[in-house]
């Protein structure tokens, strides 16, 4: 690992000022950055730890019935939170898929998203759950929907000095579910990840959101599939249409792990499966 200057600011303003400098990296849980620095794929000149800044960790209920999850919240805490398990099940399931318990005790939700891997385990769920991302900098604050955050593998719209502070989730959908397609039970990267959230009224799907991971240069929403489902009741025919539409929305690559064809096929299969389960949970 190369040497670097280490900072542990206690305010966001100070962190933002430091982070605006060249070759600076933020340190959250460290599970990506520390490994990257050892591999020399990351060679920052300054490392700015966020752990001493008050208010960046924790899950709180918002006045509008939604929840806010601070960026420094450990993914293990997201996975185990009753509030998240009950109201935002897909996110608890996504968090539980990351690495091992030892890694989830370190890794943060903010880090999982800021790394901007198209295959991040929590991202499909955050897309399906319509998360808003709050961002702070010296110039003030802004907020973007999570689907507008990513611009490419490892790339986001964040500009110099901007730091994500929290994810805000609107009041719970009727049901949600996440499936990771993988080989190993734990410690694996997603071949693909599919999350669905549905709103139901009297057996009719009034709204659906589908998040897809590892099937395009960025995580994406399958908006055509979502539109097909809206206003319908659940039938095999409508699920088949939605699955096909979701598969058509991706642009997967072939790599060592699996082929593009397999990824596309599995998007179809897992879209049907996640939507069916999300609807079943809404009724439960």
């Amino acid at each position: 690992m190369r040497s670097f200057e280490f900072f542990e600011p206690t305010t966001l303003a100070e962190a933002s000022r430091l982070f605006a400098q060249e070759h600076a990296q933020l340190l959250a849980g460290g599970t990506d950055l520390v490994i990257g620095m050892k591999a020399l794929t990351e060679t920052p000149q300054s490392v700015i730890s966020l752990q001493k800044i008050a208010g960046l960790a924790g899950i709180t209920t918002d006045a509008d019935g939604g929840v806010s999850i601070g960026v420094m919240t450990r993914v293990r805490d997201v996975e185990l939170s009753e509030e998240i398990r009950n109201g935002y099940t897909a996110l608890a399931e996504g968090a539980a898929e990351i690495g091992s318990i030892q890694i989830r005790n370190l890794a943060t939700l903010g880090g999982n998203i800021a790394h901007a891997s198209p295959a991040a385990d929590t991202v499909a769920a955050l897309l399906a759950l319509d998360a808003q991302v709050d961002i702070a900098s010296a110039d003030g604050e802004r907020s973007v929907p999570i689907h507008a955050l990513f611009t490419g593998p490892g790339q986001t719209i964040l500009t110099a000095g901007e730091i994500m502070t929290r994810f805000r989730l609107p009041s719970p959908a009727s049901g949600s579910h996440y499936i990771k397609h993988k080989i190993r039970e734990v410690m694996d990267l997603a071949f693909i990840g599919v999350a669905a959230a549905v709103d139901m009224d009297n057996g009719t799907i009034t709204g659906a959101r589908i998040g897809l991971a590892a099937v395009a240069p960025t995580p994406i929403r399958a908006t055509e599939a979502e539109e097909l489902l809206a206003g319908k009741s659940l039938t095999d025919a409508i699920l088949a249409e939605a699955g096909e539409a979701a598969a058509a929305a991706c642009s997967p690559i072939s790599d060592l792990r699996c082929s593009a064809e397999h990824r596309r096929e599995m998007v179809d299969v897992l879209t049907r499966r996640t939507v069916r389960e999300a609807v079943a949970r809404a009724h439960a």
Binding site: F6, L27, V47, S100, I101, I103, N105, M187
Partner: protein, 159 residues
């Protein structure tokens, strides 16, 4: 960069250290403090050999910068026995032969200890899943799980 003054609390003992920010907690424990019970297997978070307990949570110490571990309660395998008595999970690994070369053992024991503190009523299947971040290159998993189940039983009945 220059070394930074950091106080680490390991197994209840305070250590006033000067450490380079790039040193991992694992390196500080082993090389600076000299507690070599914690092992370095992969150094990439994949094997669990470096597992220690920080503020009650099992973590892979190869992914933690030592300078970020100040003001936290760090427990390593060396701190597990109390008053000369082995912890039930240590005793269970001995009783069942849950080790071969022993390299993965401190990591398995610390990971298991944290799981048992959290909930000793897990099924074998649940322990198996929860220990998925620990690898035994000697592949002694059957005995390792036997050890964990024995310790769980012991803790449940004496609690």
């Amino acid at each position: 960069m220059a070394k930074l003054p950091v106080t680490l609390t390991v197994n209840g003992d305070g250590y006033d250290l000067l450490i380079e920010p790039r040193k991992t907690l694992l390196a500080v424990l082993r090389d600076t403090i000299g507690l070599t019970g914690t092992k370095e297997g992969c150094s990439t978070g994949d094997c669990g050999a470096c597992t220690v307990i920080v503020d009650g949570r099992a973590v892979t110490s190869c992914m933690v910068l030592g300078v970020t571990a100040a003001d936290k309660a760090i427990m390593t395998i060396e701190g597990l026995a109390a008053d000369g008595e082995l912890h039930p999970v240590q005793q269970a690994f001995i009783d069942t032969g849950g080790y071969q070369c022993g390299f993965c053992t401190p990591g398995f024991i610390m990971a298991s200890k944290a799981l048992l503190d959290e909930n000793p009523a897990r099924t074998e299947e649940e322990f198996r899943h929860a220990l998925g971040g620990n690898i035994c290159r000697c592949t002694g998993y059957t005995k390792i799980l036997e050890a964990v189940m024995q310790a769980a039983e012991e803790i449940r009945t004496t609690a």
